[in-house]
Subunit: 214 residues, 4 copies
């Protein structure tokens, strides 16, 4: 039945997201996923054709949900001041990747895919990362002003986003160095403030010394 099918498909997607996130693609077995989803062992090949195609569908699934849950605009209108936009961008980025409640597996799957890219990464870059970075570049440009070179804006944007990604890929090290860090809601707020402050100081300082003579 249609309903049953969709239900099985969805349960498999959810289960696979968690299993792939926890163990990685290679170390995840279809048995683990099927057991987690409480479906038959042949269901994956039946519904998705192969483990590989399931993985692709999982990435599409979690990506779509992540951006639905935390849009990049973060409730701001286009006329909001740049520094508020920067803060909103950083905050929504951190929420997307750390809210395991609403986006289970998303952050981990993304960082795994970046570290060990598959053909799915192209899709992710094209459908999300690319426009996300463009948006950030626009915000940074509006903060630094029009008198700095584009290359500098790019570099600064990378430095800005790097501070967010860092907490994703260094999570294991950070939790070893500072065990009290849990990346819960309160932590996200604090991190947002710290990263925003650091970035704003850097952007303003760079803009001052690198202003191109008109």
């Amino acid at each position: 039945m249609e309903t049953q099918t969709n239900d099985t498909r969805l349960r498999l997607l959810e289960a696979a997201a968690l299993v792939f996130a926890r163990h990685g693609y290679a170390a995840s077995t279809v048995r683990m996923i099927c057991a987690q989803a409480k479906v038959n062992g042949a269901a994956i090949n039946y519904h998705f054709g192969s483990k590989d195609e399931l993985y692709h569908e999982v990435l599409r699934h979690v990506r779509r949900r992540a951006y639905d849950t935390y849009p990049t605009t973060h409730g701001l209108t286009a006329v909001a001041p740049p520094h508020e936009k920067l803060r909103a961008f950083i905050n929504s980025f951190l929420l997307r990747i750390f809210d395991e409640e609403r986006n289970p597996g998303f952050g981990t799957l993304m960082i795994r895919e970046m570290v060990e890219p598959t053909s799915a990464l192209d899709m992710l870059v094209e459908e999300g990362i690319c426009s996300l970075f463009s948006e950030l570049v626009g915000i940074v440009r509006s903060i630094m002003g029009n008198n700095v070179e584009q290359e500098l804006v790019y570099a600064a944007s990378r430095s800005a986003i790097s501070q967010c990604v860092f907490f994703l890929c260094s999570r294991s090290v950070i939790s070893r160095l500072s065990p009290q860090q849990t990346f819960g809601p309160g932590d996200i707020e604090l991190l947002t403030e710290q990263i925003t402050a650091f970035t704003l100081c850097a952007l303003n300082g760079l803009a001052k010394v690198n202003r191109v003579r008109p």
Copy 2:
């Protein structure tokens, strides 16, 4: 014979570093590694006992070589000015993780271990990352001065190091967005300048704003 033994062991370590870096632990097979090292399929178990212990030895091996090749002091004396120390720290960090010629596999193995930690991560944190971070904190403190809170120094240090790590875990995405980026020697120099400038501006700005009243 000692020489022969060490030769096989070493060839296995080198081959395993490349294979583990390229495919990850789970997707790497002992057959692949032995083929790459051109040794018998039972050699790994003979010399290391198991695939798992080989992996641990590989991490120890590449870590030691990385720090021997690019020490954190980077040729500077203790009396060098702080901003030069920061530049040296960033530069040596980038060189360590991107010089595939001299440190083959190191960067990729590190980021893999961070994203998918095994028991080997404890060793890495204790024997290297911990003191490395402390060193950076010292440099950042000397730049920001003694009138800022320790928590701010930590946050700023994380923001500084994050810009270096970023290029490790986002390599695949960056090369898709800017294909001309190859992380060769010239790129490393440029990245060093950009990250150092961004960080120095941020530290100086933060220090000014957050100075604690004496």
Copy 3:
């Protein structure tokens, strides 16, 4: 399908019984068994989980079949004279362990398990050997009468059963000393008579000498 499943399972059990009987547990390989059963090499792990669990199931299987084929009562009623019961006991015992046609592998598997016990022996002792010996003790007691000590009855029962077991574990030696001995149906009849006669003479003689004064 039920039929198909049971068919593969059963073919594996039959094949494994023969292979384990011929080569012993350690020297038997799953490949040999699967080849003999003409099933895929992964079938054992699918149906039984492991070589070890297959072995346990094989012992259960052949034991059950052996006692179904040749019950200890051997068609006698409870009121049969003791010496006939003894004869029946010995005859059915020998048939069970030597009828390779109907109980393939049973005798050899039993003696192997006794010589090199695994955890399966506990099962065999509890589910079969124990009650079998008790039954024999009852017969011996009824022959020797109530005026002999229980310890003597036990010893005599052991001596009785030992003559049957002997042909199991000394088969290879006997066939070297008397090659005409094939343990076929005719031999079984003869052996039954010889063992019964020897035992009856011993029991009667012992009973006479060891009668406890009332």
Copy 4:
């Protein structure tokens, strides 16, 4: 050196006897044996050529020692009365196979070889078992007298020896049924008496009823 060689050879033989006895041929590894003997892992192939030849040498070694330690004459002269000879035969037989102190591994190795015969069994039959059985036949004949058929003497001899062998191959079952049985020196004496008594009664009874008319 000669001495060292013989020492290594002997240590290997002793160690192998224990290991083969405990685990059987297939489940014993050359590593286990070499570790037990505290010699190099290649020593077996060096001194014996292969695991298989080592096994043969072990059997020869323990067999020779067993018969040196407990000769079949058991200190009796040729003129001793037949029933004393029978008792001595049974006693020395039991001692040979159960005195782990002086004949470590012998009994277990013998029963293993009988249950799972290799080419070594031919040697054992030719060099020992054959003459041993002949000797027993002689004793039984002298007890039963000359008026019984030879076939009956053979059968009775088998029944006699079977009671000794039984304790070897049923050790594991017996220790499960009667845990207090340890087959120590005291037990051997008791067993000797029980088996001798049972056998003498049987022989005398059989001789009486089966006497051939002259």
